[in-house]
């Protein structure tokens, strides 16, 4: 097990290094950031001084050497726009995103397990039809559009919720609802599918013959055996939750890492882009390893070797 985790970690670090190198080289080859950051009428001297100060005038290999040296020291340079350490900005925005994604994923998983199980207990019934349609809708909805329509109805028209920003609980309702929509839709389908299989198995018949209550059979006996695929899919979805976070954060003006990254990309702020990539990539790789370990803990038949 320890060997397995170690191998995975080495692979992860290599992958991240490859990614960062790709970003570094492609970024330096596609445009001079000084053109974007200085006013159009800035003189050539100002441009050169600017490039010199930020090291853009040196040969690419020298820049890459400096980049690697800084990488080892976890120094990603100064954000050109914010005039402060890019890593600091990324680490400051990260917990906000983590909280948003964590809460959304927890609610989505819990709701999906309940709705999916109930739908599976009577396939083809009225509840199953409604739940299946709703989950398909959730999985098909363009999240940015749902977010905008939410703002239109609940903030602009009804004035129940704030349009954007962060603060008390009322600021959390819309971002979390929009963010959990797709994972919820996909998870309901997974839970429903595996539960239909589990409920048809002999041990459920035995439990029913013993006269156990329906709720106990569904939520204790069948659910426990259906959890593995649900966890796998939930894990995969958590990584892609970052996708949704970028959208939700930029629509709702949420001060998280997704919005920081979008801003960095739109403003060609290398330092910010690189450090946000590193932070999110590290998190996702760490999470993938945790899910694998969790998998082995939950199902003793699985051995990573």
């Amino acid at each position: 097990m320890a060997d397995y985790i170690l191998t995975r970690m080495v692979y992860s670090v290599l992958s991240i290094l490859g990614l960062l190198m790709l970003v570094f080289f492609l970024a330096r080859l596609t445009g001079d950031p000084s053109h974007l950051l200085l006013p159009i009428d800035a003189s050539e001297e100002i441009r050169q001084a600017f490039a010199e100060r930020h090291g853009f005038d040196q040969p690419l290999l020298v820049q890459f050497g400096n980049f690697l040296w800084d990488l080892v020291h976890l120094d990603f340079g100064i954000s050109l726009r914010q005039q402060r350490s890019a890593m600091e900005a990324a680490l400051e925005a990260f917990p906000t995103t983590l909280k948003l994604a964590g809460v959304a994923m927890a609610i989505a998983t819990l709701l999906a397990i309940i709705v999916g199980s109930l739908a599976a207990s009577k396939p083809g019934g009225a509840f199953d039809r409604i739940a299946s349609t709703l989950s398909l809708g959730g999985a098909s909805a363009p999240d940015f559009w749902v977010a905008i329509m939410g703002i239109l109805f609940f903030a602009v028209t009804l004035r129940w919720l704030p349009t954007s920003g962060s603060g008390g609980i009322e600021y959390w309702i819309m971002p979390i609802t929009v963010l959990m929509l797709r994972p919820f839709g996909l998870l309901v389908q997974v839970v429903r599918g595996t539960m239909i299989g589990a409920l048809a198995s002999p041990y459920v018949k035995t439990a029913r013959a013993k006269g156990l209550k329906r709720a106990r059979i569904i939520f204790v006996h069948a659910l426990r055996n259906s959890m593995l695929p649900v966890i796998t899919v939930a894990g995969d979805l958590t990584a892609s939750l970052i996708n949704g976070a970028v959208i939700v954060e930029s629509v709702f003006g949420w001060p998280g890492i997704g919005r920081l990254m979008i801003d960095g990309i739109l403003q060609r702020d290398f330092a910010i882009v690189q450090s946000t990539i590193l932070v999110t990539a590290l998190t996702i790789f760490a999470m993938n390893i945790v899910i694998d370990v969790l998998y082995a803990v939950l199902d003793p038949r699985i051995r990573h070797s």
């Binding site: 596609t30 098909s140 940015f144 970028v246 959208i247 990254m261 882009v273 996702i284 790789f285």
Partner: protein, 307 residues
């Protein structure tokens, strides 16, 4: 592919042959509505731009942000007009062509790249195969939208780059499927026979392996199409996808966002169009899954008899 259900002894009442695909489609109302909608959409996207002429770009400043629901300015303005007085219906049709076109091109490119690399990874030596799979792991382990954003940031936004980026994020699915199938097929008797008769690797792959793998890839592509549409819309919405004056539905939503308080229809219709399209695609693929699953297929087969 014959499903095991055909081999099972049938109930005495059911003497007729299992219903055909079209009959099965008629029995799932949701899938039927989805199929009809997609059919109309494709017709509108292909033929529509010929009929509407320059309506999608014609400025009419007098009817800026014209409200929907009135026929006063003709049928083209029934869904209202945008901030420059252009017909929203006409723009939706042009947007449909761009949205579907980009998604189709990205799908094709993803099949092409993923299929080719998958064939190589499955058929060629172990070393190259491992290298390809490790690279795939990197692409897969990173959230698709972030990957697309970073690459678009580096390459600059344009339609060609957008298609490439969308394809790259979908390649792993095709690549892994192809490789898995090739690993299995290459051990089959007909491939070994071809090899024993002295056929070259390229010929074996082209004539014996590819025809078996291709249907699987096409099936995945139809399921994956909705994902590509959503990804493209999100990128265009964020301003890193399609660039003006070209537009897709996602870009139309982004544009309408600025007029949310005064003209909700600008953002509402294109988003609704995306939603209906992806929903139809998902309903169809869910129907296809039910048919492909012998444990579920009977639900549709008996559905007509119950009613």
């Amino acid at each position: 592919m014959a499903t095991p259900i055909d081999a099972l002894p049938k109930a005495p009442a059911e003497e007729t042959a299992p219903p055909g695909l079209f009959r099965l489609l008629l029995r799932d109302r949701f899938a039927l509505v989805g199929a009809v909608f997609l059919g109309l959409l494709v017709i509108a996207a292909v033929l529509g731009p010929l009929l509407i002429g320059d309506l999608a770009t014609k400025l009419a400043l007098g009817q800026r942000n014209l409200a929907p629901g009135s026929l006063e300015h003709g049928i083209a303005y029934v869904l209202g007009a945008d901030s420059l007085g252009r017909s929203l219906l006409a723009r939706l049709i042009v947007g449909a062509r761009n949205t579907l076109g980009i998604a189709a091109a990205a799908s094709l490119l993803a099949i092409l790249i993923g299929g080719t690399l998958g064939l190589i990874a499955g058929y060629a030596g172990r070393w190259i195969g491992n290298l390809i799979m490790r690279l795939t792991d990197i692409v897969m382990s990173f959230p698709s939208l972030l990957l697309a954003l970073v690459v678009l940031f580096l390459l600059g936004p344009s339609i060609v780059n957008l298609i490439i980026v969308l394809a790259i994020t979908r390649v792993p699915i095709y690549l892994r499927t192809t490789r898995a199938e090739v690993l299995e097929i290459r051990e089959r008797l007909f491939v070994q026979a071809a090899r024993a008769m002295g056929a070259r690797s390229t010929r074996i792959v082209r004539r014996h392996i590819l025809p078996v793998v291709l249907p699987t890839l096409v099936t995945i592509a139809t399921i994956d199409f909705a994902t590509i549409i959503l990804a493209e819309s999100a990128l265009s919405f964020l301003g890193l996808g399609i660039q003006p004056p070209s537009f897709t539905w996602g870009a139309m939503v982004a544009n309408g966002r600025n007029y949310l308080g005064s003209a909700w229809w600008l953002a509402a219709w294109p988003g609704l169009a995306i939603m209906l399209t992806t929903l139809s695609l998902n309903m169809l693929s869910s129907w296809a899954r039910t048919i492909g699953d012998p444990q579920q297929r009977w639900r549709l087969e008996i559905a007509g008899k119950r009613r």
